[in-house]
């Protein structure tokens, strides 16, 4: 999106092409069936399901704890330690699984906050317009005039490390993007004939929003938030890598990478860096490809080159 669009006063055109009048005429079962025809989507879903299952199961069935080191340092993979141990003696497999819990928890949790706040603000601004709209657009313009990871870093540096602050930092920097998207979409729906029609027959604003606007926003929100989760997971890992996210012994993937890298043990045991790196990249790629596939399926007329 160009900076030109952001600063102009002209109402922005909707994202991609005009939305289908009833975008969700495609029933959920139809969406799933179409997704299953999409190879990238199938692989992504399998990767994510595997991650979720491993994240839940491994810490339960493993004899090791993520925060209690064993006496065996830097072990190669064995029957006992399936992925070996690190330089403190932690079992890497268990730590990766707990790291997956953290990543998914932060990614999905933050995105839920972003969706609630972003949808609410974007909807109100787009539907009612007026000063609320102006205020929101000026505010999000400001937020866009600023690289969001920098703002997240500043928040973490001032508030101090920890999971709660990670949540706050990433939610605060995340919602404006979604709010703009929802606003643009609402704006393009507001004056459509079927909305006018319900207004003419006496439907209240609340019922129009609930019955007509919200269902038509679903597509945009689902696609954008799936892609956003990938970004949130990378941001969390970045903050932890820089030492201002989660703190030891929490096994955030970013923290595992920085510990191994900075201690230098990774030179002889590259797996210390690359196991968490592979987990991170696979998860992020899966969300990215799933988001792209969802866009293809839900919005077939949309602009795919974006």
């Amino acid at each position: 999106m160009s900076a030109i669009e952001k600063t102009s006063d002209v109402p922005e055109p909707s994202v991609g092409s005009a939305p289908a009048t009833v975008a969700f005429a495609t029933r959920p079962t139809g969406v799933v069936r179409q997704l299953l025809k999409h190879p990238a989507a199938v692989i992504s879903i399998l990767v994510l399901l595997t991650t979720v299952v491993l994240a839940i199961v491994v810490p339960i069935i493993s004899p090791f704890q993520y925060d209690i080191p064993t006496d065996l340092l830097l072990q190669k993979p064995s029957a006992l330690h399936l992925l070996g141990t690190d330089d403190t003696g932690y079992d890497i497999g268990v730590r990766l699984a707990v790291g997956a819990r953290l990543s998914l928890f932060v990614g999905i949790g933050v995105e839920l906050i972003v969706v609630v706040v972003g949808t609410l603000v974007g909807l109100l601004a787009g539907y009612y317009g007026g000063w609320a709209d102006t205020l929101l657009m000026r505010f999000t313009d400001m937020m866009f005039a600023f690289p969001d990871i920098l703002l997240a870093i500043l928040i973490m540096a001032v508030r101090g490390p920890g999971l709660a602050n990670v949540f706050a930092a990433l939610a605060v920097t995340g919602w404006p993007g979604l709010a703009r998207l929802v606003r643009a979409q609402t704006l393009s729906l507001r004056d459509r004939e079927f909305i006018e029609a319900s207004r003419v027959v006496g439907a209240s604003d609340a019922s129009i929003i609930r019955r007509h606007i919200l269902p038509n926003l679903l597509t945009v929100i689902v696609v954008a938030s799936t892609l956003d989760i990938a970004g949130v997971i990378i941001s969390e890992a970045t903050l932890s890598f820089l030492g201002i996210g989660e703190q030891p012994p929490m096994p955030s993937w970013g923290l595992m990478i920085s510990n191994a890298y900075e201690s230098g043990y990774w030179r002889d045991n590259p797996q210390l860096v690359f196991y968490p790196a592979i987990c991170l990249v696979l998860t992020v790629l899966a969300f990215n490809f799933l988001g792209d596939a969802l866009r293809d399926v839900l919005d077939p007329r949309g602009n795919k080159s974006r």
Partner: protein, 314 residues
């Protein structure tokens, strides 16, 4: 045009003011006492009081805020909580390193990204196009701190060709630049391809084709210039993220720039320094995007026309 320029500049100034305000109040509301950061928990109350007075930390919020804003306008970003050094001096010494890395990286990213984008747009839908684009999506999904160890593994640990940390000479820049340029290059390549394909659908291209011009001539002479306009905007936004990305990259490669110093300051809880770095980077980011928006206006005849129409209408 002048109206646009004025509006754009006003918006930039307001943005910078907003950023300075946000950073001030975040630091003001920070949990804990800055004196505890400076002197530790057990310190002489008199020393602490004198230090607080010298730095205006005993002032109420509003005068402190006004003083801070006026200081920022004069290029004074305050002093470090760690050793009382002037933050503007620290940045003056370290920012050139960060800026050099960022500029070299964005130039490389533009060269590689535009080239790859053109190649992909020449053969859309083929295996070459698909694999190039898949590679680019992967590049966007790879965080800096994953690419860097990979490069160090190959170029330092296996080949022994490049130094894995330090600063001084081109050899020290190769890996950091590769890491920093990867993501913007990927974004620029995707943008170039998309925008070029869009332009190729226009009617004047069809006319050129009907006249019998070769496809290469059409792309390189007639389609490229309009197609590159949106790419400039992408590059501008990328540049800001590149500056922010220097935190990770300078840390990994021990480069004596602003980013590395900030990471050191995290463990010292020196949020005054982070505040100064944030304001500096934000001002640069806003300035670059302002220049790019204006350039866009100057270069794109359609945007110019739209501007006059809007001006006439209002």
């Amino acid at each position: 045009m002048w109206a646009f320029l004025g509006k754009r500049l006003a918006f930039s100034l307001v943005s910078i003011w907003a950023i300075a305000t946000i950073t001030f109040f975040m630091a003001y509301l920070a949990p804990g006492d800055p004196a505890a950061v400076r002197f530790g928990d057990h310190s002489n109350p008199q020393t602490v009081a004198a230090w607080k007075h010298a730095h205006g930390l005993d002032m109420p919020a509003v005068p402190r805020y006004v003083r801070y804003l006026s200081n920022v306008c004069h290029g004074d970003l305050g002093t470090s909580l760690y050793d009382d050094e002037k933050i503007s001096d620290i940045l003056k010494e370290r920012f050139p390193v960060t800026a050099l890395l960022a500029v070299v990286s964005i130039v490389i990213a533009l060269l590689v990204g535009v080239t790859v984008g053109i190649i992909a747009a020449l053969v859309p839908g083929t295996w070459l196009d698909r694999s190039l684009m898949a590679f680019m999506i992967t590049c966007v999904s790879l965080p800096n701190f994953v690419i860097a160890p990979l490069l160090v593994l190959v170029f330092t640990l296996r080949m022994g060709a490049l130094p894995s940390s330090g600063w001084g000479g081109i050899a020290y820049m190769i890996m950091p630049v590769m890491v920093l340029a990867a993501r913007p290059a990927a974004n620029i390549a995707r943008m170039t391809r998309g925008s070029l394909l869009e332009v190729l659908r226009q009617e004047y291209i069809r006319t050129a084709r009907a006249k019998g011009l070769s496809p290469y001539r059409i792309i390189l002479v007639h389609a490229l210039k309009p197609a590159l306009l949106p790419v400039i905007t992408t590059a501008g936004v990328s540049f800001g993220y590149l500056l922010a990305g220097s935190f990770v990259v300078e840390n990994i490669f021990s480069i004596p720039g602003v980013g590395n110093y900030s990471v050191i300051s995290f463990s010292r809880r020196d949020y005054a320094l982070i505040q100064g770095v944030t304001v500096l980077l934000a001002i640069i980011f806003v300035a670059i995007n302002t220049v790019i928006d204006v350039l866009y206006r100057v270069l794109d005849p359609r945007a110019r026309a739209a501007g006059t129409e809007a001006g006439a209408a209002s």
